[in-house]
Each structure stands twice: as structure tokens, then as C-alpha cells.
């Protein structure tokens, strides 16, 4: 299990397009991906699930990946989120 926490920097928060970007990346790997914001946990491979997190700018996203390429996936997610998607 690999884990990572990243702060959302883009002003609009985790809206639909960033969710699409996360899922598109996650689907390139044979990994499970859980995304936590506060108490809520979403499936990082589902846009609809991620959108329910209602994560705004300044929120911290906790990613937990498990499976082949998990470490690389988290590295790319860190770049994606901290770069404002």
C-alpha cells in the first residue's frame, strides 16, 4: 500500500475536469485507488465517486494506491494535483 497527501491548489477545487484527470490517470494502472477528503472516501477510478468528495481549494486529498505501479501512480498524482490539474 502506497499513500500520499496533497493539497488542492486550484481555485475551483475538485470539480469535474480534475476528477476526469485523476480517473484517466488511475485507469492506466492495475491499481486500486482510494481518495480521502476529511471523513469521506471515494473510489479514485470513478468520476462520479470523486465528485461526491466536494473538495474545495485548500482541502487535503489523501491517496492510497495498491497494486502494480502504485508508487508511480502516486508520483504522477502528486504532480497533477499540486500543479492545479
Amino acid at each position: 500500500m502506497q499513500a500520499l497527501t496533497v493539497e488542492i491548489v486550484n481555485p475551483e477545487g475538485l470539480h469535474a475536469r480534475p476528477c476526469h484527470a485523476i480517473v484517466s490517470l488511475a485507469l492506466q494502472y492495475e491499481c486500486s485507488l482510494a481518495v480521502q477528503c476529511g471523513e469521506a472516501v471515494a473510489d479514485g477510478r470513478s468520476i462520479l465517486s470523486l465528485m461526491t468528495l466536494q473538495a474545495c481549494q485548500g482541502s487535503e486529498l489523501g491517496f492510497k494506491a495498491e497494486g502494480e505501479g502504485a508508487e508511480e501512480l502516486l508520483r504522477r498524482l502528486q504532480a497533477l494535483v499540486s500543479g492545479g490539474f
Binding site: 477545487g13 470539480h15 469535474a16 476526469h20 484527470a21 480517473v23 468520476i47 462520479l48 465528485m51 461526491t52
Partner: protein, 159 residues
């Protein structure tokens, strides 16, 4: 949550006629204009913005649902609809499945008397929660009238 109140039956459709994504975007916008939820002078700009948004990445979020949404200059309040395409259309959705349920959301560029930008993310979350419900998708796909469709939004908001 009372976001369902922003979805007026006259803006919605239970039987989109479009044959592909471009014509569907036009039909969704035309329905908002016909219902006077979107000023006619913004029709072309709305279509163009929605096409550009799709070019950035499909709004097909999976499970047969798409959420075409953009900010639109000149708009002073949110214009939105929920629409059904009986057969479903190819939408380059994240799961590759055809889309038959469309939540269209056009919103002003900036906040004002009629629009609170901070509630936008909340509204999108509400849409996502509804869209994740298999019961919602099943009943929406079977809705016979626009009023029935909006009533379903209301009923499922309480779940």
C-alpha cells in the same frame, strides 16, 4: 438539498432526438432557449462553450451519465436541465459506455444576486450523488414526462 428546484420541466427532455454529440449539445441548448432559461442571444456562445469543454475532456462521467457544464459570459443566473436520450449516444465517456442521461449546467462567469459560485461545487456533488444511484438512472430512463423526470430529482434528493 433543494437544487432540484433549479431544474424546470420545460427546460428538460425525456426524448432527445439528436444523433450524435454535436447535435445533442445544440438540442440541449435550444431547449433552454425555448424555455426562456437562456437568453436567445447567448445560444451560439453556449453551444460553442460546450463544444470547447468537450474538447478539453468528455463530460461523460460513466454509468451512462454526462454533465455538460460551462461558465457563460453574459448569463446572470444558472440555466440547467436534465434530459434523456432513449437509445444513448456515443460520448467518449470515461467508461466508454453510451450516454443516455444528461445534466446540463450553464452558469454565470461571476457571482451576483442570482448566482452564488460557492454553491456550484455543492450542486455538482448533488448531481454526482444522484447519478451514482442505480435507482435514479433506471427510473430516469423510463420517465414518460418532463414533470415526472423533475419529480424524480426531488424524490431522490431526499434519499
Amino acid at each position: 438539498m433543494n437544487f432540484w428546484k433549479q431544474f424546470k420541466p420545460k427546460c428538460c427532455s425525456v426524448n432527445l432526438k439528436a444523433e450524435d454529440k454535436p447535435t445533442a449539445l445544440i438540442e440541449l441548448v435550444e431547449n433552454l432557449v425555448k424555455a426562456k432559461a437562456l437568453p436567445a442571444e447567448l445560444q451560439d456562445a453556449a453551444i460553442e462553450a460546450l463544444v470547447e469543454r468537450e474538447d478539453l475532456g468528455s463530460t461523460g462521467v460513466g454509468a451512462g451519465v454526462a454533465i455538460p457544464h460551462v461558465k457563460l459570459k453574459g448569463l446572470d443566473r444558472v440555466a440547467c436541465s436534465v434530459s434523456i436520450h432513449r437509445q444513448g449516444l456515443e460520448w467518449a465517456a470515461i467508461d466508454g459506455a453510451p450516454v443516455n442521461i444528461y445534466f446540463t449546467v450553464l452558469r454565470p462567469e461571476r457571482g451576483g444576486d442570482q448566482h452564488d459560485p460557492e454553491r456550484h461545487l455543492e450542486m455538482m456533488t448533488w448531481i454526482a450523488k444522484l447519478a451514482r444511484e442505480p435507482d435514479f438512472r433506471r427510473f430516469a430512463g423510463r420517465a414518460k414526462t418532463k414533470t415526472e423526470l423533475v419529480d424524480l430529482l426531488k424524490e431522490m434528493s431526499a434519499v
